[in-house]
Amino acid sequence: MADNTEILTDLALIVEEVAGIDHADVTAEKSFVDDLDIDSLSMVEIAVQAEDKFGVKIPDDQLAELKTVRDAVDYIAKNQ
């Protein structure tokens, strides 16, 4: 079980790999779409990798609700 800081660190690395955004820029308050400019297909790729990494399920309808990095970290922490 990873804590929220560890989840954020790992999630930022996934975002960097999928979307080419420096992991240091992937901070909790950022919006995936508005701040990080990540498109819907990249969000799916991030979700798929996060599922593998954290052992959670992130279905498409749930994925649409994860607006910010913090939303994603909280969701993963809660569903691990």
Binding site: D39, S40, L41, V44, E45, A47, V48, D60
Partner: protein, 328 residues
């Protein structure tokens, strides 16, 4: 036990003999589409990797494109039409269900009275048809077969729907196969196929006759479920991922292609494995995409005689099929 004494003797297996393709002359660029719907070149390149696609003129029939591709494949195989006994056309875009494409295409090419039928497994159709044909040859039911993937998707597109009109294109590709003379020259591996009917609605033709796709759901499915199918095809052929020289997946979306190739490399496929990217200038041509990519890669030197090639088709159904072949 009932014994049928009339069954033909089985052959060692099938091999590819030749290939050919045909595309319409008309090139439709992303800028052309942007004049009709709210989109732009960069958006399309980023999402699907397509720069242009070929679209058939209204008067061009699917069977015309199939005939051209088939004729070229027969010539490439060093055969004449009269030497073939079976033709299978993989298609999901015939204008009507009867007559089928295969018999008409055989007539146009000049193949006399072959076994002729269509296969509809949407974008997986070519790999399904090739798998079925290879087993017909192996069983001795067919000696030389022509397998064509041909689509006129433009008939099924809503040109005001920017989620589908940017993706698809028209075209046809074909291969000729025959029975390998001995076990060493078998060049088509066992097919790994299957379906996911629980997702049948994800890609479908609507009541208005136009194609609809739930892009995000299909993207997730393809990026996660197709690499395992491809790996199963490799295993069934008695090979490892490192043996694959060329990877030719259905040309659905460049990002799906790259995601699947990445997963194969994580399982041991080589970094120098050549990966088909024919979608960039052909668009997604459904069942035609795999044989079109094969023919184009051979033409530009990225596919050479003796190469071990991994094919995998996937799409509407949902359905999927893959096999390993040796380039003739």
């Amino acid at each position: 036990m009932i014994v049928c004494p009339r069954l033909p003797p089985a052959t060692p297996g099938a091999r590819l003999l030749g290939m050919g393709s045909q595309q319409p002359d008309k090139i439709v660029t992303n800028d052309d589409l942007a004049r009709r719907v709210d989109t732009n070149d960069q958006w399309i390149r980023d999402r699907v990797g397509i720069q242009s696609r070929r679209i058939a003129e209204e008067g061009t029939l699917l069977v015309d494109m199939a005939m051209e591709a088939g004729t070229r494949a027969i010539k490439d195989a060093g055969l004449t039409p009269g030497e073939l006994d079976t033709i299978i056309v993989a298609t999901c875009t015939m204008p009507t269900t009867i007559p089928n494409a295969a018999a008409q295409v055989a007539e146009r090419i000049g193949i006399p009275a072959p076994g002729a039928f269509d296969v509809n497994a949407a974008c997986a159709g070519f790999c399904y048809a090739l798998g079925a044909a290879a087993d017909l040859v192996r069983a001795g039911s067919a000696r030389r077969a022509l397998i064509i993937g041909a689509e006129k998707l433009s008939d099924y597109l809503d040109w005001d729907d920017r989620s589908t009109s940017i993706i698809f294109g028209d075209g046809a590709g074909a291969v000729v196969i025959d029975a390998a003379p001995d076990a060493e020259s078998v060049g088509i591996g066992p097919v790994a196929w299957g379906s996911a009917g629980d997702m049948a609605q994800a890609i479908r033709v609507l009541d208005n006759g136009k194609l609809h796709q739930e892009g995000q759901a299909v993207f997730r499915w393809a990026t996660t479920k197709i690499a395992p199918v491809a790996l199963r095809a490799v295993e069934l052929a008695g090979l490892t991922p490192a043996d694959i020289d060329v990877f030719v997946p259905h040309q659905a979306n460049l990002r799906i292609i790259e995601a699947v190739a990445k997963r194969l490399r994580a399982k041991g496929a080589r970094e120098d494995m050549r990966v088909a990217d024919d979608i960039v200038h052909s668009g997604n041509t459904s069942s035609a995409s795999v044989p079109l990519a094969l023919d184009h890669m051979r033409a530009d030197g990225r596919l050479r005689s003796g190469d071990i090639v991994l094919l995998v088709g996937f799409g509407g159904g949902l359905s999927y099929a893959g096999q390993v072949v040796v380039c003739p």
